[in-house]
């Protein structure tokens, strides 16, 4: 069933009796060409591109709980491509281009809103760094614009420009950045993958990987063994646990990132805003809530909840940046578990086990990467070679010294 304006009108006139479930609930087949572990944004996107672009029809996604119940349902929905390094920027720009065509591609309203992002700077040194980053973005075909304080004031008059410690000197803007409706992204990819023949198997926990003579033959699950020629793991947050079933240790620690939503307000924020003097970023959802976050808690955890010191730190960042936020009440807060990698960049690669492929290490930037991550992982699974924009995301780059460290923080995952 295709969704369209006409369809909505027709259903409205006929009592909405024609809407059908948007994906099937199939039982697992004994064998698939490709099994993707993880029915989150990245796994479902992989299934979509694998079936639609790469023509693979015998594909399954196995998911422990329900699809879209992990980090794709827990993020702050920001979409952008304002990276600097060569290994990253072409990938994220590819992702942003896919975002721009996503709704037409999957025929699903993902509420993609290119409202822009502004990264504020507060010192001359930071201005130089952002100028350099903006130039790197432009060189890679992305858009970037440097605003001075007056230009920022014209767009964001409510910010705390004359703070004694951190006066706002300007900002780096990417106009094509924005936000998307996170759940709809998962559902849209799931529906499209299902329409292209992918079996989405929910409530099916992978309990083991069957590996013989260095080759992965399939997955042991709570619904029995399912054979596969290739197995792709896209379970960021829990990568250590799943790849641990293959006896692998990863350059990854799991950490918790908290996110916050205020009560609904009238429109006050025209774009996504990041504070340059502390770690704080905020946007306003279409429902009116201010969606914001900051640092990860900073210790290994698989609990989807954090602790109060970070709550205080994030709210202090918000108050320093836009004192008006103090008048809004906090409605909800939650935590999501992140794969924090050793250089702050992701991994999309083969593994030492034949037929086992890995996608993870997204740190807390996985949502914006969803389309490109799925596309590049599908490319890798279909063709056994990395997609041209993802060649740097090698699993062994730490051994060979080819790290992609945007922040220059070194092998300390809680600093990325």
């Amino acid at each position: 069933m295709r969704y369209s304006g006409f369809r909505v009108i027709k259903e409205a006139l006929t009592g909405h009796k024609g809407w059908k479930p948007v994906w099937r609930e199939p039982d697992p087949k004994p064998h698939y060409d490709v099994i993707i572990i993880g029915g989150g944004g990245h796994g479902l996107a992989t299934a979509h591109y694998l079936s639609k672009v790469y023509g693979q029809r015998n594909v399954a996604v196995v998911e422990k709980g329900w699809i879209g119940g992990g980090n794709v349902g827990r993020n702050t929905t920001i979409v952008r491509s304002n990276y600097m390094l060569d290994g990253n920027e072409p990938f994220y720009e590819f992702s942003l281009k896919l975002w721009e065509g996503l709704e037409q591609d999957v025929n699903y309203n993902a509420m993609m809103s290119q409202r822009g992002i502004i990264n504020l700077f507060h010192t001359d040194g930071q201005r130089d760094a952002y100028t350099r980053r903006g130039n790197a973005m432009i060189l890679n075909g992305a858009d970037a614009e440097l605003l001075d304080a007056d230009q920022v004031r014209a767009e964001h008059p409510y910010l705390n420009f004359d703070d004694a410690r951190f006066p706002i000197k300007g900002g780096l803007v990417q106009r094509r950045a924005g936000t998307a409706r996170h759940d709809a992204v998962a559902w849209g990819y799931a529906r499209s993958a299902d329409l292209h023949g992918v079996d989405i198997i929910q409530n099916c926990e992978v309990t083991g990987l069957r590996i013989e003579n260095g080759t992965c033959l399939g997955v042991e699950t709570s619904k029995g063994f399912i054979g596969a020629s290739k197995v792709g793991c896209a379970v960021a947050g829990n990568s250590g646990r799943v790849m641990g079933m293959a006896g692998m240790r990863l350059p990854i620690e799991s950490h918790v990132l908290q996110a916050f939503v205020s009560e609904g307000l009238k429109p006050v924020l025209p774009s996504v805003i990041t504070f340059g003097a502390g770690h704080f970023y905020v946007s306003q959802s279409d429902k009116g809530g201010l969606v914001f976050g900051g640092d990860i808690d900073g210790y290994n955890t698989y609990a989807q909840r954090g602790n109060l010191p970070v709550v205080e730190d994030v709210c202090e960042g918000g108050m320093a940046l836009m004192p008006m936020i103090g008048r809004a009440r906090l409605l909800r807060m939650w935590g999501g578990v992140m794969d924090m990698s050793m250089d702050g960049s992701p991994i999309i690669d083969r593994t030492p086990v034949q037929g086992l492929y890995f996608n993870g290490g997204w740190c807390y930037g996985g949502f914006k990467a969803t389309p490109a991550s799925g596309y590049c992982f599908a490319h890798l699974l279909a063709k056994d070679e990395p997609h041209p924009v993802a060649t740097a995301y090698r699993l062994d780059r730490f051994r060979t010294g080819r790290m992609i460290d945007e922040k220059g923080a070194g092998n300390q995952p809680n600093l990325h």
Binding site: G240, R249, I252, E253, S254, M342, F398
Partner: protein, 95 residues
């Protein structure tokens, strides 16, 4: 989280900074034959367990001692706190 410091008693975790897995105490021998592999393993690979985890915390806003904290990464429950100095010495370091 409250960390029960062996010398100072219960202290708020916000007084500490976190380094990572307590295996970082066991720095490999830089002159060994397999030093490159051993340091790759030491610097970059982690067990990252879901459950009991032994980890290094530094009491930065306190007495600046290093602690080995045994904590459950699923519940945040802390079951044991030791001075990293003592742990290292029992492993034959700094003798």
């Amino acid at each position: 989280m409250i960390i029960n410091h062996p010398l100072l008693g219960p202290r708020d975790a916000s007084e500490f900074t976190y380094l990572g897995d307590a295996s970082l105490i066991d720095r490999p021998d830089g002159t060994a034959e397999n030093a490159a592999d051993a340091f790759y393993d030491y610097a970059y690979l982690r067990d990252n367990p879901a459950g009991e985890h032994r980890e290094l915390w530094y009491h930065e806003a306190g007495d600046r001692s290093w602690l080995v904290v045994t904590r459950n990464t699923l519940t945040h429950e802390i079951s044991k706190v030791e001075l990293a100095r003592d742990v290292a010495r029992t492993r034959g370091r700094s003798k």
